[in-house]
C-alpha cells in the first residue's frame, strides 16, 4: 500500500520561501489598484502548505488541513508549470479568434460586466499521488494534497463562444495563459474539446471564494473545466483560439496523456499508444485523522472527501481491519455536480493499538476505487484506496 512508499525528499516549509512570496506579493500590488491589492496579499498561500517547488510555484495542501467542503483560498494547492506572470489589470485582455465568425477582444471590465454565474468545483492536479508510483516517474512528487474545492465565479465559456460565432469546423479550443516557457521550453497551451467547453459549468472565472482570483491561482482570469484534470483549467488566460484540430504542442501531444491499455510498470510508451487524460477517476481521501495521528481511546472521527469527474459519489466505505470488513460512512449534505462530497464515520475502538484506516469510494456508475492504481509513465491519476495510520492510546 502507498503508506509504505518512501516519503518524498526535500519537502520544504513555507518559511524558507518567504522571500519569493514577498516578491510575488509585491508584483501583485504593482499590477493592481484599490482595495483589491489587499485582497491578493491576504490570499497568498500561507506557510502551512508543502513546497514541492518554489519556482515555478508548486504548493501542496497537507490533507489534515482540508476540513471544510469549500477549501479556504489560502490553503488551496498551487500548480504552475512556469514562473508566475505579472499582469496589470488595466492592460489585460482576452483574445478570442480562430474558427469563429466574429473574433473579438475583451477587457477585464467588459468581462466582469457580462452575465455571470458561480459553481462549486473540485480541482485536482493530474499528478496528485505521483509520489506513490513504483517504479518512480519524473515530475513534481505530489502526495495526496494537490486537490481542493472552491466556489468559482465568472462567465460561462459557452456564452463567450456564442458571441464569437463558432464555425461548424471547430472541434477544439486552444487555451493559452500569460505564463511563458523558461528558455526554449514550449509555451503551456492546452486543447479543450468543444463539447466540454460548451458544458454550462465550464467557466472563465475571475473570482475564487468570493474574492478576485489571487495571482497564484490565475489572476485575473482562469478557465475552470469541471471534472477534468486540473491542467485544463488554464491560469492567467489571455488567448482562446478555436480550431478544427488539437494543438500540436508538448502539453497536448506529449504531456497529460496515458497509455491506451494497461502497461507493465516502468514501460516507456510511444505517444501514438496514448490517450489524453481527461475525467478524474473515482477517489477518496482521508483528512481526519491525520496520518500517524495519536488519539486517546474513545470515539474517533474518521472523515474525508470523495470525488469523481463524470458521475456522482454514491458511497464511501472505511475499513479499520486492514480491508477485511468495510463500514459505510455518512455522506455530507453539501453537494454540487462537480464537487467533492464529505464522508464521516465515528469509530469507537475497543482497545488501544495501531490501526490502518482505509477509505474506498464508489460512484453512481458503480465504479469502485481500486486497491492498486494503474501505473503510467507520467504518474497521472493515482486513485488507489486511501490509507492512514491511527494510533490509539489510553491517554
Amino acid at each position: 500500500m502507498h503508506s509504505t512508499v518512501t516519503a518524498v525528499k526535500g519537502a520544504g516549509t513555507r518559511r524558507s520561501f518567504l522571500a519569493h512570496v514577498c516578491r510575488l506579493g509585491g508584483a501583485a500590488l504593482l499590477g493592481t489598484a484599490g482595495s483589491r491589492e489587499r485582497a491578493f496579499g491576504a490570499q497568498l498561500p500561507n506557510d502551512q502548505l508543502i513546497i514541492r517547488s518554489a519556482r515555478p510555484e508548486d504548493l501542496e495542501t497537507p490533507p489534515h488541513l482540508l476540513t471544510s467542503w469549500i477549501t479556504p483560498t489560502e490553503l488551496f494547492y498551487v500548480r504552475s508549470h512556469f514562473y508566475t506572470p505579472v499582469i496589470r489589470e488595466t492592460e489585460w485582455k482576452l483574445v478570442i479568434d480562430g474558427d469563429v465568425d466574429r473574433p473579438f477582444e475583451l477587457s477585464l471590465g467588459e468581462l466582469r460586466r457580462l452575465p455571470s454565474t458561480s459553481a462549486v468545483v473540485t480541482l485536482e492536479c493530474a499528478g496528485n499521488g505521483r509520489a506513490f508510483f513504483e517504479p518512480p516517474v519524473a515530475g513534481v512528487q505530489w502526495e495526496k494534497g494537490a486537490v481542493g474545492t472552491a466556489e468559482w465565479q465568472g462567465v460561462r465559456l459557452a456564452d463567450i463562444l456564442a458571441r464569437a460565432g463558432v464555425r461548424r469546423t471547430a472541434r477544439y479550443l486552444w487555451l493559452d495563459g500569460a505564463d511563458r516557457g523558461i528558455d526554449r521550453a514550449p509555451d503551456f497551451i492546452r486543447s479543450l474539446p468543444l463539447e466540454k467547453a460548451l458544458d454550462s459549468t465550464t467557466l472563465l472565472a475571475y473570482q475564487m471564494n468570493g474574492e478576485p482570483l489571487p495571482v497564484p491561482h490565475g489572476f485575473p482570469v482562469r478557465v475552470v473545466v469541471p471534472g477534468w484534470e486540473g491542467a485544463y483549467s488554464v491560469k492567467w488566460l489571455t488567448h482562446i483560439r478555436v480550431s478544427d484540430s488539437e494543438h500540436g504542442g508538448t502539453f497536448t501531444q506529449a504531456g497529460y496523456r496515458r497509455p491506451r491499455r494497461p502497461v507493465k510498470p516502468g514501460t516507456i510508451v510511444d505517444a501514438a499508444d496514448t490517450v489524453p487524460v481527461r475525467e478524474l477517476p473515482v477517489k477518496s481521501l482521508i483528512t481526519s485523522v491525520a496520518h500517524d495521528a495519536v488519539v486517546a481511546l474513545g470515539v474517533v472521527r474518521i472523515a474525508g472527501f470523495a470525488w469523481v469527474g463524470d458521475a456522482e459519489i454514491r458511497r464511501v466505505d472505511v475499513s479499520i481491519d486492514n480491508g477485511r470488513t468495510w463500514e459505510e460512512t455518512r455522506l455530507g449534505r453539501d453537494r454540487a455536480p462537480y464537487a467533492w462530497r464529505q464522508f464521516e464515520y465515528l469509530w469507537r475502538p475497543r482497545e488501544t493499538g495501531s490501526y490502518a484506516v482505509l477509505s474506498r469510494a464508489t460512484d453512481s456508475r458503480g465504479r469502485v476505487q481500486p486497491i492498486v492504481a494503474e501505473w503510467n509513465p507520467a504518474g497521472y491519476l493515482w486513485n488507489a484506496v486511501d490509507q492512514v495510520r491511527l494510533n490509539v492510546r489510553l491517554e
Binding site: T6, V8, K9, G10, A11, G12, I51, R52, S53, A54, R55, D58, A131, P135, P136, V137, A138, V140, Q141, G181, I182, D183, R184, A185, P186
Partner: protein, 93 residues
C-alpha cells in the same frame, strides 16, 4: 553476518558484494557523488529550478538521462558528456 562470526576478510568483502549484487539483486555500494556533477547541478539546473523539485525525484540513472535530455531540448546548456556526468551524480547522491 561478519559480526555474527562469518569469516570474510576485508579484501574479500567487495568481491562478495559484487557477486551478491549480480546474482541476487542485493543493492551495490553506491559510488561517491562526483564534484563535477554537483557543479553542473548548481550552474545548469538551478538556473531555472530550485533544489526542492530536483531533490524530491526518485529516478535511477536512466530516468535522469531521459529527464535531462528533455531539459536540454528545453534549453538546458549541457554537452553529451556533461549530461552523463550529471545523470550519474543525480542518481547516486
Amino acid at each position: 553476518m561478519i559480526g555474527w562470526g562469518a569469516r570474510v576478510t576485508e579484501p574479500e568483502r567487495p568481491v562478495l558484494l559484487e557477486y551478491l549484487a549480480t546474482h541476487f539483486g542485493v543493492t551495490r555500494p553506491q559510488p561517491a557523488p562526483s564534484p563535477a556533477g554537483a557543479e553542473l547541478l548548481g550552474t545548469r539546473c538551478h538556473v531555472c529550478h530550485d533544489s526542492a523539485l530536483i531533490d524530491q525525484q526518485r529516478l535511477n540513472v536512466d530516468g535522469w538521462r531521459r529527464e535531462i535530455g528533455k531539459m536540454r531540448a528545453w534549453g538546458a546548456r549541457l554537452t553529451d558528456p556533461e549530461q552523463a556526468t550529471l545523470a550519474d551524480y543525480l542518481a547516486v547522491r
